[in-house]
Structures are given as C-alpha cells and as structure tokens.
Symmetry: C2
Subunit: 378 residues, 2 copies
C-alpha cells in the first residue's frame, strides 16, 4: 500500500495564485470573521512591554504572523499592529516624533511553510510596505513547530487560522497495521477511538513545541495572539469535531467514494489519505499552555464565526461552487500531491454536485467555532 | 511612441524557475568567478565589530545579501559568512559553546525585488536552513536603492553581481524629444555622449542612495562586500563599456535589427527599449564612496573574471546556445515585458544564430571585468 506523503512541510500550503480556487479569492468570510476578533489582538498589544528608547536609534517593534498564507488577512493584521502600537506609543512614554515623523520602526515577518506562494504575497506587498513604508517586511520560510527566529527577538506573535494544522498525519493513522488506522475516512471526525487518541497526542506534542519555540523567541514582556479552529467539548472526545465537520467531512468522504465506485481511484488510495487538521477544545488548549508554563493566559474562549454571506441563497449552483472552492482552497495542494491534480479536479467536481444538493443546509451550518486566545510571557 | 515600462521594480528579475534559460542553470560561471573573490569577503568579515555577549542571550550576527536572485550563489555567500564568523568567534572573546553547541546565532536575509522568484529560492533553502539550522533565513522584497531594514540592525551586507543594475532607465534615454535619446541601440555602450552622461548621473544618484541607506542600517562597526560589473577607464567615458559590451551589445542589436528587417517588430519598439545596466570604473565608484563619506574603503579594485568553460569549444551550436541562454537569463524578464515572450523567443533564436557564427571569438572574450570592493562604516 502506498503511504501518504509524510513530508507535509514541502507540500502543504493554501492554494496559491489568484485563480478561482486560490486562497486569496476564498478568504473573504475568514477576513470578516477575523475583523470581529481583532479587539482581542488590540488587548494583547496593550499588554506587551514597549521597546526601550536608546539614544541615536528609533525604538523597534517586531511582529511575526505565523502561517500567513498569501492572502490579505495577514496585511490586515500588520496594519492593526502598526496602527495600534503607533497610537499606544504616541500617548505613552516613548517621547516625541523625530524628523522623519516616525516614532517607532516596525518589522513585520510573514511566516509560512516553504511551499507557500510567497511570490503572490510579495506582489500584494509593495503598495503597502515599500511605498508608504509603514513597516519593513520580511518573509520567513519554515514550520512554526520549529524555531524561526533568534532568541528574544520578537515583541508579538500572531497566528490566525493556522494552528489547527498539525505538523504531520499522526503516527499510525495511515498505516494498515496500526490500531489507529483510519480506514474509509480522511478526517478524525467519526473515526475510531484509537485514531482520535493519535490525533490528540499529535496536537499536544505540536502545541508544546510551538509554545516552547515562541517562549524562546519572544522578547521580555512579549505576547501571542491566536485564532484557530476549535470545537465544543463532547463525551466522544476528538472524534466528535462538531456538526460542521460531520457535514463537510461527510461530503468529502462521499465525493471520494464516488471516485472509487466509478473505478477512478482505488479504496486504498483513500484509506492512506488523511487530513492533518485538529480542532481542540478550550480545555485541551488550556492544558497544554499550563503544562508548558511559560505563558499566562490573558484570554481564552470559543467563539462562533458567522456563516458566509451568499448573494443568492436560492442559487444552489453558486452555493455548491462556493463550498467546493472553499474546501479546495484549504486542502487542494494536499490532495493534488496524493492523487494528482487531474483526479483532484474530478473529486472537486463531485463535491460541488453533493454541495449543490445540500446547498441550503450547508450555507446555514457553515459556522466554524474558533479558539480565540491571548497569551503573555509569564 | 510607446515608452518603456518604467516601473522596473515590479518587472525586473533574473529568469525564475529551473528551466534551460533560468538563472539557476546559467550561473555556474558566475559561481566559479565568485568563489575566487571570496577571500575579500573573508577579509571584510575580519573587520566587522563582533556582536557583544549579553547574559541570557546568544550573540546574534545579521547579514543581508542584496540582489540575491534565486540561485545557489547566495547560499554560498551565506555559508562562507557562517563558517568564517563561527571560526572568528571560536578563537575570539565570545566564550565557550553552550548546550546546543552554538556560539552565535545567525540571521541571513535574502533581498531582491518583489518580482524575484522567491518561491524557487525557498525550495532550495530547507535542506540548508531548517534542517541543519545553520542560520535563520528570511526574504526581503524591495529595492536596495530604498531602505530595507530598521536602523542599526545589520552587521554585514553583501551584494554580488547586482549593483550594476540601475533603478531605472535614465531620464531621457527612451524619450524621442530628449538629447539623451538612445536611438537604434539598447545599451549605453557606443551611445552618444548625452546618453552616456545620463547613465552616469543615474549611477551616481543610485549609488549615493545605496550607500546612505546602508550606512543607516548597519550596526556600529558594520561592513559591506560588493562585487559588481565594472569597466576600465577610457577617454570615451561611459559610452565605452569595454570590448565585451561591444561584442555582446552588438550581437544583441543585430538580433533586434533582424526582427525589424523581417517586419516582426517596428524600429520604435527597439528605440524605446534600453537596458538599465552600468559598469562603473574604479574611479567613478571611489568618487561616490568619498562623496557619501560614511564609509572607509578597505579594498577597491577591478578584477578580470575568467571565461566560462565550454565542454567542446569546436561545437558552435553549443556555444551559441550557451551565449543566448546567458543573455536571456539576465535580460529575459525585461524583454518579455517590452515585446512579449513570443517575440522575445524570436529574438533569442536570432541571437543564438549570431552567436554560433562568432562562437570561437565569443567564448575567448567572455571575460567581464568586475569591481571588487570592501567597505567599513567610518
């Protein structure tokens, strides 16, 4: 049996470019939801220790967005940080503006896996960064489960809608001989208890590593702002990722089974594919932060994002396309690598059909719960 | 008349990807020549002030390569810096290795215009940076004629084979009504005195801006290592860029005139296209450094690079292809933007033919003089 490509680092990314299923053209509802959560980012910024003023050098504030993809959401985050910190320092103790009219210098780091489409991000940047020179921009290729920065070099980290991606498919989940083997499914939702436990272990280990690296990289008084997919607690544990995963995961599994029935891929190809996505509960999240011990929790809650606005909810074709594009935006590159883009096309055509049939229900239920979290270095 | 696309920042780059005319596959002779000049980089590194050891934080050394393109040469530079500084600090006053076996932390910034193919660069990086973790890597999209970094944040800048690129085609050179109009030519070599003067003014203004920005960005005791195309002094001034430009420029002009004769492009299309490349003399270079006044010159000389090795010098077809690919690597994106890639293909087919005819002479004469320079903050 073929194993799934394990080296997620060199494959995984949001769909690049600017086409119909690109992340850029399918992140509007994420952007709207994100805007509603930005007050917590501002509260996080209020807590960081302001950079000291040293003679002959403007104070420097460094911020890094972890898992930036190539979309506009990251630029929004950068703007909020620059605006808020400029306001804070204007009324704070940093003194008056100098000749260039700048009080602070800002460095903003856009971080994502090396497979991310940084070229597209850089084409969006110039108007914002080079011309108006609000901040110095840099891109960092690497996994946020590894060290990305020198010791004590960053004032604030943000990570929005990325931390639910695990560093890999958990051990055993794609292995026929393992009790955690996830036969006939591609998500943890609805899987066996063993599969659920493997996913939870992977989440804990990843999150511990994430916090450890960030604690090393943050300057004294630094903070982290996190938005990630999350789930409500349930007696079924991680295999109950919530109704939305029931709906989406089911539709995904159905489309894949269509391909198998039609003889286009074999069943093992499906059994060996798994999506390394884990939506933790608030309790699971808190437990890891407490175990790590480097951070104090300023805020940690589960919030419901509002569903996307559909121009014409009665237009099932449009809703179907929207759902298929949305899923392809998130999972496209993973699936292309596993079954090739020709077969991936076929898969998403079938998903669109399933989505058209369930259009009304899908649009109503498209409310993902999110973990919203603010941490400060203890 | 159509003006040439002036916004070089969003167009100009070395040919991306990994194809036959990509920079990656045509930079071997550059790489060999560069290796011979690296002793000057090491001497430059010897002069920088070592980062101070502060308790609880590893000393950090930051280096930036300006105009990195997406090739291997930049990775070579990064390796030389890490190796040499590690050696320097091992025998210096920085104390013993800590638990991780690291004495210094290194940050290496890869800088180029936003149109550079950073995606390809990042695919080369992981083996070197993430896995072996010799340095933290970041990419900076922007022009080195602008500020790229916060004040006093960089220990050493390098710029190899980039600084001969001007920020734009000099004013008037592509304008019919200007005395500096460069009719019937695409290079400054062999142009009118007015065109030559316009190029020289642009070089001076660009170089002043470059030095001013770097002086602001360098930490105390910082240094710069530069390799750039250069030329021997001549009574004819900038319009005599040397024999190599006579040969290459002539071949380029001939190929372009073929297209005009064949009715494929009109003459004005050629008149409005100019290559923003300027090879300064050592005297011109020194004059700008002295005028700026922020740097002292450790070393400044003109060195001859050795010609490329051709597997079979008698094979004119191979030599022709090599020359055409080499020129396309450097100028491809500029030409694509000006006449479209279909017509650019036609142009390079003709250049290959001209190069085949002159193959023997071309290979022998392919020796570009280089400015080799080391500067320290005064």
């Amino acid at each position: 049996m073929e194993e799934q490509h394990q080296d997620i680092k060199n494959v995984f990314c949001m769909e690049g470019g600017q086409g119909e299923s690109s992340y850029i053209n399918n992140s509007q509802s994420q952007s709207r939801n994100l805007k509603m959560m930005l007050y917590v980012l501002e509260e996080t910024l209020d807590k960081i220790q302001l950079p000291r003023h040293r003679p002959g050098k403007k104070p420097l504030l460094t911020a890094a967005d972890l898992g930036c993809s190539c979309g506009h959401n990251t630029l929004l985050i950068a703007d909020v940080i620059v605006d808020h910190m400029t306001k804070l320092c204007g009324t704070g103790s940093l003194g008056s503006k100098d000749d260039d009219g700048l009080e602070l210098e800002f460095c903003f780091y856009f971080c994502d896996l090396p497979s991310n489409d940084f070229n597209t991000l850089f084409h969006l940047l110039p108007q914002q960064a080079a011309a108006a020179r609000r901040y110095f921009a840099a891109a960092i290729p690497g996994s946020f489960y590894d060290r990305l920065f020198p010791e004590r070099s960053i004032n604030v980290f943000t990570s929005t809608l990325s931390l639910h991606w695990l560093s890999q498919v958990p051990e055993g989940v794609a292995n026929k001989r393992s009790p955690a083997y996830n036969k006939g499914k591609v998500f943890v939702h609805g899987a066996s208890e063993e599969t659920g436990a493997a996913y939870r272990r992977q989440f804990r280990s990843n999150m511990m590593r994430f916090l450890h690296c960030r604690a090393t990289e943050l300057k004294t008084g630094g903070a982290i702002f996190i938005v990630s997919l999350g789930r409500l607690s349930s007696t079924r544990g991680p295999t109950d990722q919530g109704y939305i995963y029931e709906v989406y995961g089911g539709m995904f599994d159905d489309s894949w089974r269509d391909l198998i029935k039609e003889g286009m891929v074999d069943g093992e190809k499906m059994d060996s594919f798994n999506v390394p996505l884990y939506a933790p509960t608030v309790e699971e999240f808190k437990e890891v932060v407490d175990t790590d011990g480097s951070f104090k929790i300023n805020q940690l809650e589960l919030v419901m994002a509002s569903p996307p606005v559909v121009d014409d909810p009665a237009d099932c074709g449009m809703a179907g396309r929207m759902v298929a594009n949305y899923v392809r935006t998130l999972l496209g590159p993973l699936i292309d690598t596993h079954i090739g883009w020709v077969m991936a096309d076929e898969l998403f055509i079938r998903m669109q059909r399933h989505a058209e049939i369930r259009a009304e229900e899908l649009v109503d239920e498209m409310c993902f719960p999110h973990i919203l979290c603010s941490l400060s270095l203890a």
